[in-house]
Amino acid sequence: MPYLEIDNLSADYGKVPVLQDINLAVERGEIVSIIGPSGSGKSTLLRVLTGLLKPRAGSVAVAGEKLRYDSPKDLRRAREKFAIVFQQFNLFQNMTALRNVTIAPTIVQKRKAAEVEAEARALLEKVGLSHRIDAYPDEMSGGQQQRVAIARALALKPDILHLDEVTSALDPELVSEVLDTIRLLADDGMTMMIVSHEMGFVREVSSKVVFMADGRVVEVGPPEQIFDNPQTQRCTDFVSRILRH
């Protein structure tokens, strides 16, 4: 049984269907990348999993246990297991880097402040930011902010880390520092779902690539299949268009 199992998941914004019958399985330690044209529902899928948008139908199960997103208890559980890093970083603007990382573990998970802080310092060091611990988000570069956001997500000790186009808002020269950080996590065996347009990176780290279009999963396979030998026309078109750039 896969660790995360998404079964016929559908969701909509108002009346507009955005996700339709999504099926996906993720094993522990796996890195699943989601690619697809803009507006295909990649962000929405991550928003549903992290409880920011209620699904209309279908189910999500973790380690065999169903998560009902309309039950507050399950919603809390889903958010304990899944952490998300956003394209726009979404760091709390009124807090330093360190406070951004420690706030949820201390006030939500009610862990000891000293212990949390030590961990947070270690995490910030890991993402290469021990010198920016007391900086506020608006004093940091995009790449630094995004690395703080990753540290903040990791501090929650999630089972799966969701990354939604985490390099898309960055200046080109800052992309690699964030990708390097994600590679570190991959080496640690972190389970991740990554939405990205960095095809080279996707190919390098993914154990599985999901191609989405129009709110549906069109093709799933190992990176070699998706990039070198796609089985569907839409995926072929998308990959050839994007690799030409």
């Binding site: 992290t50 409880g51 920011l52 809390r76 958010r79 304990e80 899944f82 952490a83 998300i84 956003f86 726009q88 979404n90 760091l91 709390f92 603007q93 009124n94 807090m95 706030i103 949820a104 006030i107 939500v108 998970q109 506020y136 608006d138 903040r152 929650l156």
Partner: protein, 228 residues
């Protein structure tokens, strides 16, 4: 003009000066209590209107209705409604309570608007981040949203309070001894209207002008990035 100058020492005699000073304090206390209570009520209303916190649409709608109703009734009419409503309820309350309640009703409506605007001025992605970290709505509000919203909430709230300080003059209609009542009483005692009303105009000016300057200062001060 010469007659006013002659009248001045007589007008500002010991008794009148004390009377005016007390009225000045009365106006200040009335404004402060009314605005304070109203601001707290406005806070609750703004929270009730925030979709991320109160998911019950009916309650959101009621809070909106409250705001729309109270801000569309002139202060004088509101004062009368409150006065007779207390009488109707059989409550034997002081005129201070009636006046302060009226101010609080007005303040609740405008501060609900201000606070809501402040909350909405914070980017929604801040709520998203807080929610996915399992922070409850009120926790997110307190720890993340409000610290970023104060700079948008405080200056207009202070400006609106100036409007309410001015409205307290209408409370003279129910005879509380704030500045306008006292000016009327002194005028009836035979002091010239120019002196009676002129002196309280200056006293109002002192309060309102200082408050407005403070609001302007806060606006600049709070806009600084290092204000968290």
């Amino acid at each position: 003009m010469p007659s006013i100058l002659e009248e001045l020492p007589r007008f500002f005699n010991y008794y009148n000066s004390i009377f005016l000073a007390k009225a000045f304090l009365y106006t200040l206390v009335l404004s402060f209590v009314g605005c304070g209570v109203g601001f707290l009520a406005g806070f609750v209303l703004a929270i009730l209107r925030t979709r991320r916190i109160n998911r019950w649409a009916g309650l959101r709608w009621l809070a909106t209705l409250w705001v729309e109703v109270w801000r569309r009734i002139p202060f004088l009419v509101k004062l009368m409604v409150v006065f007779f409503a207390f009488q109707f309820a059989g409550g034997n309350v002081s005129m201070f309570t009636v006046a302060a309640t009226t101010i609080a009703l007005s303040a609740s409506a405008f501060s609900a608007e201000n606070i809501r605007a402040g909350i909405e001025s914070v980017h929604p992605n801040q709520w998203d981040a807080a929610e996915t970290m399992n922070m409850g709505g009120l926790t997110a509000l307190r720890r993340v949203i409000l610290p970023q919203a104060w700079s948008v909430i405080i200056p207009p709230s202070m400006t609106y309070s100036v409007g309410l300080v001015k409205s307290t003059s209408i409370a003279s209609q129910i005879g509380v001894l704030e500045m306008t009542s006292v000016a009327k009483i002194l005028n009836q005692k035979g002091f010239s209207a120019a002196l009676c009303f002129g002196s309280i105009l200056l006293m109002y000016f002192v309060i309102c002008y200082s408050l407005n300057r403070l609001a302007a200062y806060m606006e600049v001060r709070l806009a600084l990035p290092r204000n968290r």
